[in-house]
């Protein structure tokens, strides 16, 4: 039976990992993902899982061990944050390019300097071209549900790519909240047995992994990887449908919250979507046609689906919780690209918010809708790019 529990976001993830019972978890602790690894190591010590838990001396080694264990035919998971993932950088690409279906929870945290331990998305956004599937989570429930869906998506034939499950550091990872934890056996049945591909431990069929690839083959391998990511989009939809059939909660590539007849829409990622929904409801009570589009899959990015969902919208504010210095925010550039082929393109602008954990209050979100209204009346966007809630403007 499923049960309602009070649990932190980190606790929900480690509990989900326990239910998945991976073969190998190599991990190195870093705030705010530490609790996941700590809880999970306790499950290992208490004999609650069959997992081989590998303590390593750095995150580079953690991901290296993940790749090694994965090519040895195991289902592999890990968790990290910020600088931890930055240290994995080289191995992130290798994991994806060697098509290993590793599952990593990334508890989003700012990158140094100055040192900051709080939520922003510079870590995962920096890794958006590494070839990992990226799923984002608004709250505890979504983080847990994404984690339960991740192995099925990653391991699907035609995909075989690693998945990064992202959730906001502290805001979700350390907050105690009630959520539904599903039954162990039901989760186990949903995930199914792991099927390895070309395991190095299959001594009757010897293989070499990670060989040299020169200009005569490299681009063909990348082309194949690109198609795998394209297939991942269908896999996410299919697994999400199965998930809702079994567990009842519905997920798509993105969530459209009251966008059907909306004129003004905010597009955002992760926990801030909760606050935006709250403001949308308040403005809807005053008959304002506002809505939220919340991204779940950032890689693969659902361009066509998003432009279809926004076809009646008049103005869009895209909120980025990370910087791409010298360029617009990463979410903004994707959304703007998605809109280019529309006949009647809506107005669009970009706001950077919440870097290093700065709160974005309901009032400030309300102000964004107000700004959209002003631009709508003038018929043009005056400031395409700006920061919100920063001293000095």
């Amino acid at each position: 039976m499923s049960k309602i529990v009070s649990i932190t976001g980190a606790g929900a993830i480690s509990y989900g990992m326990k239910q998945i019972n991976p073969d190998v978890v190599p991990a190195f602790p870093i705030t705010p993902s530490t609790q996941i690894v700590e809880d999970f190591s306790k499950f290992v010590t208490d004999g609650k899982v069959d997992t081989e838990f590998i303590t390593v001396e750095s995150e580079h080694s953690a991901m290296s061990a993940c790749i090694g264990a994965s090519v040895a035919g195991g289902r592999v998971m890990t968790a990290t944050s910020s600088a931890g993932m930055a240290l994995m950088w080289e191995m992130l690409y290798i994991a994806a390019s060697m098509r290993q279906p590793i599952i990593m929870t990334l508890v989003n945290r700012a990158l140094s300097a100055p040192i900051n331990i709080h939520a922003d998305h510079s870590d995962s956004m920096g890794a958006r071209d590494s070839g990992w599937i990226q799923l984002y989570s608004e709250n505890h429930q979504e983080a847990y549900d994404n984690l339960i869906m991740a192995p099925r998506i990653a391991e699907k034939a035609g995909v075989r790519l690693p998945v990064m499950v992202c959730l906001d550091g502290f805001i979700i990872s350390h907050c105690l909240q009630n959520m539904i934890i599903e039954d162990d056996d039901k989760v186990k049945a949903f995930i199914g047995e792991y099927e390895d591909r070309h395991s190095v431990l299959d001594i009757k069929n010897p293989v070499s992994w990670g060989a040299l690839d020169l200009a005569d083959y490299f681009i063909e391998h990348k082309r194949a990887q690109n198609i795998a990511m394209k297939n991942a989009k269908d896999a996410i939809c299919e697994v999400s449908r199965d998930f809702s059939n079994v567990f009842g909660r519905k997920y798509k590539l993105f969530e459209s919250y009251k966008t059907d007849d909306a004129e003004k829409v905010i597009i955002a990622i992760n926990s801030i979507a909760g606050e935006i929904k709250e403001v949308v409801d308040k403005l809807r009570d005053k008959n304002e046609k506002v809505g939220l589009l919340k991204i779940r899959a950032f890689r693969p990015f659902p361009y066509a689906e998003i432009s279809k969902a926004l076809k009646n919208v008049k103005i869009i504010a895209v909120l980025d919780r990370s910087e791409s210095f010298g360029a617009y925010g990463p979410l903004f550039t994707e959304i703007r690209t998605a809109l280019y082929d529309m006949v009647d393109r809506p107005l669009i602008y970009n706001r950077i918010y919440g870097l290093g954990g700065r709160e974005l209050s309901l009032d400030l979100i309300n102000d964004i809708f107000q700004e959209s209204e002003n631009y709508l009346q003038k018929g043009k966007v005056e400031k395409i790019f700006d920061y919100i809630n920063v001293r000095g403007g």
């Binding site: 907050c175 105690l176 009630n178």
Partner: protein, 193 residues
């Protein structure tokens, strides 16, 4: 109740204030409400003033920002009185719950509040009597049930706390904590606003 019932806790690092907020949330969740509990994040230093927050609601809790619409302020350490942060953002009907050995009238004056209802509880001495240690949480939870019966009744608090404490502390300490909750409910002083 309005959409979110919101609480701010004031304590010092190492006194279990965050645990207090979490225990209360778990107990309230047991009655079927939606809950959240979270500290003001940052490096926790023993003795340094800290805040923790609760939100309770019949609806899904969708917001994560620090609590601004205060229904209750809980002061777990009386030595914090005098700190302006305690009364920041309070409303006319904010309820104060203060761990203190002093009479409520005196604390009201010290907090410099006007019109708000104030509950006091000698949680340290209740705790000392029951555990021979100053862990004020259980007694303060009892006073909370007295002040906010519509959120959780004493009966429900005792019932839920039995589960929580046996999970957290082991069976031997459950009875003592339940006793502290009951005494916190009984021995509180109050001045109405």
């Amino acid at each position: 109740m309005s959409k979110y019932f919101e609480i701010r806790w004031h304590g010092r690092g190492g006194q279990g204030t965050v645990t207090g907020a979490k225990s209360l949330a778990e107990a309230v969740q047991g009655t079927g409400k939606n809950i959240s509990a979270f500290p003001e994040y940052g490096p926790e230093r023993r003795g340094a003033p800290l805040k923790a927050f609760n939100r309770f609601s019949d609806d899904n809790i969708r917001i994560h920002t620090s609590v601004k619409n205060l229904d209750v302020v809980i002061i777990a350490d009386p030595t914090l009185i005098g700190n302006n942060a305690l009364t920041e953002g309070i409303k006319k009907n904010t309820i104060f719950i203060v761990n203190t050995e002093k009479p409520a009238v005196e604390i009201k004056k010290a907090l410099n509040i006007n019109g708000q209802t104030l509950f006091t509880v000698p949680a340290n001495s209740i705790s000392k009597k029951n555990f021979n240690k100053e862990i004020p949480n259980s007694a303060m939870l009892g006073t909370f049930a007295k002040a906010c019966e519509h959120i959780i009744s004493l009966e429900d608090l005792v019932k839920e706390s039995k589960h929580i404490f046996s999970k957290m502390l082991g069976a031997s300490l459950v009875d003592k904590n339940i006793e502290a909750i009951k005494e916190g409910y009984r021995f509180g002083d109050v001045v109405y606003g």
